[in-house]
């Protein structure tokens, strides 16, 4: 277990120290949200209806844009080979990297989200559900993103390719997370959507490290 913790700490410290990795993701998130009122018009009534959806889509895009720092740097300098050879099972190493990725991507997005929801004039009743949904759903984004990042190691145009692979698999968290926020805004029940969101994250927690570790092994051959 201490190996896991060391790995998480290493990745988080690297992300924080490499000047602005977290800032880049948050900045992209803010810009993506800000783009929408320019695109669809600033009318408050309409923005209130689509506000939580805008925040979710922007969070997805920001998560996708941050995927290349999961494995690429370690793959390039040989750290991934060392991880594969270490006594720590590769699946757990991948899990640790996903945890670090979530701490430096998903968590900051979740923290910033309520303020952005205010910018797009989202219904105040929906904001807590929006944040809770992001909290439950963003780990799944990091986990599934890890599978795509591992699969595209050494590919041509890994960034765009990983985005193409991962966005169809990001649809369930988006549908349930944004659906929960919509339901909260219209006064309906949110339990079903949030439970399904949690179920999806749990499935990703089990399946993604196995798939990503297999992909890393194939990349290292």
């Amino acid at each position: 277990m201490s190996g896991l913790w060391v790995l998480v700490r290493r990745d988080v410290v690297l992300a924080v120290r490499q000047g602005g990795e977290i800032g880049l993701v948050v900045g992209f998130f803010i810009l993506a949200v800000v783009l929408f009122p320019f695109g669809v018009g600033p009318e408050p009534e309409m923005l209130r209806r689509i506000g939580s959806g805008i925040v979710w889509v922007a969070a997805l895009l920001a998560a996708v844009s941050s995927l290349d720092r999961l494995f690429a740097a370690d793959y390039a300098d040989g750290g991934l080979d060392l991880l594969a050879l270490s006594p720590l099972p590769l699946e757990l190493a991948v899990l640790a990297k996903c945890a670090a990725h979530w701490l430096t991507t998903g968590l900051p997005l979740t923290v910033i989200a309520p303020f952005l929801a205010l910018i797009v004039d989202a219904d105040p009743a929906a904001i807590p559900v929006l944040v809770l949904g992001l909290l439950i759903g963003t780990p799944a984004l990091s986990l599934i993103g890890a599978v795509a990042a591992a699969l595209t190691l050494g590919a041509r145009r890994p960034g765009v390719l990983a985005a193409l692979l991962v966005l169809p698999l990001y649809l369930p968290p988006l549908i349930f997370g944004a659906g929960a926020a919509e339901a909260a805004a219209t006064g309906g029940g949110v339990r079903a959507e949030l439970l399904l969101l949690g179920a999806f994250s749990l499935i990703a927690l089990v399946v993604a490290p196995v798939a990503a570790a297999a992909a890393v092994r194939e990349a290292l051959e």
Binding site: V147, L151, T152, G154, A155, R156, R157, L161, L164, L165, L167, P168, L169, L171, V207, A211, A214, A215, E218, A219, E221
Partner: protein, 246 residues
């Protein structure tokens, strides 16, 4: 038999013998099926003549899911047993499956316009089939994104297995969600609810599409094996050949 056919040369001989018969059978079944479906099958009491789109749309949808299952199973065989031809089979089937998915989406859209009044709705069945289409495209993109084709094949195999979760979602989407799309009328507990005069041409078209899938996949596998032979010749034979299509 699968292990016997793992030898590429033996596979080429076997598939070369089978393929002409398969192609002839495909043409025959599709010709009979299309004529029966488009001319002789009765119009639906509610939808009239536009029910005939069903005879292309439904078999294409069945083949879209079946082809993905084929890709996933071939990928599993490639990863677990390292069968030499399994990856080639998966990569041969993917564009054919993507084409069937595309046909399903387009014919469904053409059917939805007169029936529902909309070219597209975001209900569970349509969305999950669209996701299937993107999974196919992602698989093809991933396999072709590497300079080393073996690496691309292995990466694609893992992706195919990850995406197989979409298949039960497609199948049960009309049960789990309130969808505009019609619920299951053929493959359901309690037997088909569709009239026999419509079911028979539908099944014949499904058989024709299956034979078409088999013929196309065999053809593409043979082409892929020829391409591999060409690549090996160019790398190791020192023979200067005109640049083969990569």
């Amino acid at each position: 038999m699968l292990t016997r056919l793992a030898n590429p040369a033996r596979f080429m001989r076997a598939s070369g013998a089978v393929l002409p018969w398969l192609a002839a059978a495909t043409a025959l079944v599709l010709a009979v099926g299309l004529v029966w479906a488009l001319v002789f099958a009765p119009p639906d009491y509610q939808q009239g003549e536009s029910v005939r789109i069903m005879f292309v749309h439904v078999p294409a949808a069945w083949m879209a899911s079946a082809a993905y299952l084929f890709v996933a199973v071939a990928s599993a065989v490639a990863l677990v047993w390292r069968h030499p031809l399994a990856e080639i089979a998966a990569q041969a089937a993917a564009p054919v499956g993507a084409a069937f998915t595309f046909v399903c989406l387009v014919t469904g859209s053409l059917w939805g316009r007169p029936m529902w009044g909309a070219w597209w709705v975001w209900d569970a069945r349509l969305t999950s089939v669209l996701v299937l289409f993107f999974l196919y495209l992602g698989y093809i993109a991933l396999v072709n994104a590497f300079d080393d084709p073996a690496r691309g094949g292995r990466a694609g195999a893992i992706l195919a297995l990850v995406g197989v979760i979409n298949l039960p979602i497609i199948k049960f989407s009309v049960d789990w969600w309130n969808t505009l799309h019609q619920p299951a009328s053929v493959f359901r507990l309690g037997g088909p609810t569709i009239a026999l005069s419509l079911l028979l041409p539908l099944l014949l078209m499904a058989l024709g599409f299956t034979l078409l899938f088999a013929a196309l996949v065999l053809l593409r596998m043979r082409t892929a094996l020829w391409e591999r032979r060409l690549r090996a010749l160019r790398l190791y034979g020192g023979v200067s050949l005109p640049h083969a299509a990569e």
